[in-house]
């Protein structure tokens, strides 16, 4: 009961932190150079791991679908299934989980270290708000880069699936592409990108909060980072379910 109360209190404080962060987004001075630096770190820096994950996910998924569809002599549908699943589910969720592991953990550790070594207090004492200076650029960069990385995952995932389906499983290219077009709508892509934006918000707010609220030296920073990564991952999956349920229903 005590732990539940503490968890709820912590969640409440994080929400207040998020509200304060939103207020700081609109207050000058604006620091576009810090947003660009974070876009480079979160976006460009994660492109390799997201690209590799995307390519292999598409390849494996195409092979699995081919194996399943063959039972019904419906291999032509592999391309459509791969594209559809990537766009709506696999790309946004896998991208968010990979970026949480790579960039989210780094964000929590960096801010946590700054907290326990009084760098955040120092910043505040110099009349610079740490939420505005450190948190806002990371959140904006996440909101912008999660969809971009998700599109990268989509593109490389589909390409990987295409190579496997057409050149390895020998599915005729005509039906493969035709069924992709038949299955897919722009709305499927947008559905995935909407998820990416929501996941970007979740990951950036949770991991910056865990760093910002860190206490107690190196151990506290480590614990904060672990909690940030675990909580981000769980909330990504919960939000994924909620968005899917609302848009598709039962």
């Amino acid at each position: 009961m005590e732990r539940l109360k503490a968890a709820l209190e912590d969640f409440g404080r994080m929400l207040l932190f998020a509200v304060e962060m939103v207020a700081w987004i609109f207050r000058p001075p604006f620091r576009p150079e810090l947003v660009l630096a974070q876009m480079a770190f979160i976006g460009v820096g994660s492109a390799f791991i997201v690209g590799v994950t995307g390519t292999f996910s598409g390849m494996v998924f195409a092979l699995q679908m081919n194996f399943a569809m063959k039972q019904f002599a419906a291999e032509g549908y592999v391309g459509g299934s791969v594209a559809f699943s990537l766009a709506r589910e696999l790309s946004p969720v896998f991208t968010a989980l990979m970026v949480t592991g790579r960039a989210g953990s780094a964000i929590a550790t960096e801010l946590g270290t700054m907290r326990v070594t009084e760098q955040l207090d120092a910043m505040e004492s110099m009349a610079v708000n740490p939420i505005q200076y450190l948190v806002v650029p990371r959140v904006i960069a996440s909101l912008l880069m999660f969809p971009v990385l998700t599109m990268l995952f989509n593109a490389l995932g589909y390409a990987g699936g295409f190579v496997m389906g057409v050149y390895v499983a020998r599915i005729p290219i005509g039906p493969y592409l035709a069924h992709t077009q038949e299955f897919m709508n722009v709305s499927d892509i947008l559905h995935g990108l909407l998820k990416a934006v929501v996941f970007g918000l979740i990951v950036s707010v949770i991991t910056t909060w865990r760093g910002y609220a860190a206490t107690g030296g190196a151990k506290g920073v480590g614990e904060g980072t672990t909690r940030g990564v675990v909580a981000s991952s769980i909330f990504i999956l919960l939000a994924d379910y909620a968005i899917t349920f609302v848009s598709v229903g039962t």
Partner: protein, 255 residues
């Protein structure tokens, strides 16, 4: 310059400050002495508005810091420079970027010319006896004493009226401690600023203080000039100071 009136602060059941009242006149160095966990840092964080009191008030330069929020508090903080215990240099920035930070960030609206920023950074590094060769170095490449000096240069760069020192000599060897004491005295003499130092280093405290106070169990156990505090009849103060005076006396005898 600084007036703390009947300041109370608790964290849960932990009552840290229980009615602190003190006045720091302009241009003086005021040292708050106390053991570990006596609430010294909490007191200092109230002075700069990093913490809000449960009761009581803090006035700096005629403004009630403890009642300010948001933009007004941010503006009021421009009166201060603060030197943190572990120096708290930003480790993702070079020495130059660290010292320039208050100028490039705080005064964005005023757009200080980059040449002027550089001139002032070098000028303040000179006050703490550091040359231009340290500018491109990273905090991780500096010794403890050098970090403290860079931290003081950063605190001085925006020409504050008040400088706060959080345990400036903790963890330093005797020679560096002596150097840091000299640096505090020099900053006061050269720039005429008001200083508040919190410390448990009795030798340093008596060396730099115009006035000092001993904080114990959330109260000021003694307050006054170094000579007055030395004569205090408070048992805690006597115990706190006696160890150091005895040590000093034995050192004098053996010398």
């Amino acid at each position: 310059m600084i007036e703390v009136r009947d300041l109370w602060k608790s964290f849960g059941d932990n009552h840290v400050l229980k009615g602190i009242t003190l006045t720091i006149p302009e241009g003086q160095t005021y040292v708050v002495l106390g053991g570990s966990g006596s609430g010294k840092t909490v007191l200092m964080k109230h002075v700069i508005g990093l913490l809000k009191p449960d009761r009581g008030s803090v006035h700096v330069g005629g403004r009630e810091i403890s009642a300010l929020h948001g933009k007004a508090l941010t503006e009021a903080r421009q009166l201060f420079g603060m030197v943190f215990q572990g120096a708290a240099l930003f480790d993702s920035m070079t020495v130059y970027e660290n010292v320039a930070f208050p100028l490039t960030e705080k005064r964005r609206g005023e757009r200080v010319h980059p040449d002027e920023v550089r001139r002032r950074v070098i000028e303040k590094l000179r006050v703490v006896d550091l040359g231009e060769e340290v500018l491109p170095r990273w905090p991780s490449e500096l010794s403890g004493g050098m970090r403290k000096r860079v931290a003081l240069a950063r605190a001085l760069v925006s020409d504050p009226q008040v400088v706060l020192y959080d345990e400036p000599t903790t963890g330093l060897d005797p020679i560096t401690t002596d150097y840091v004491d000299g640096m505090i005295l020099n900053a006061k003499r050269a720039l005429g600023i008001t200083s508040m130092v919190i410390s448990h280093d009795i030798a340093s405290a008596f060396k730099v203080a115009d006035r000092l106070a001993v904080l114990y169990d959330g109260h000021l156990a003694a307050e006054g000039t170094p000579a007055e505090v030395r004569e205090s009849k408070d048992p805690y103060v006597q115990r706190f100071l006696s160890m150091w005076f005895e040590k000093q006396a034995s050192e004098d005898r053996s010398a």
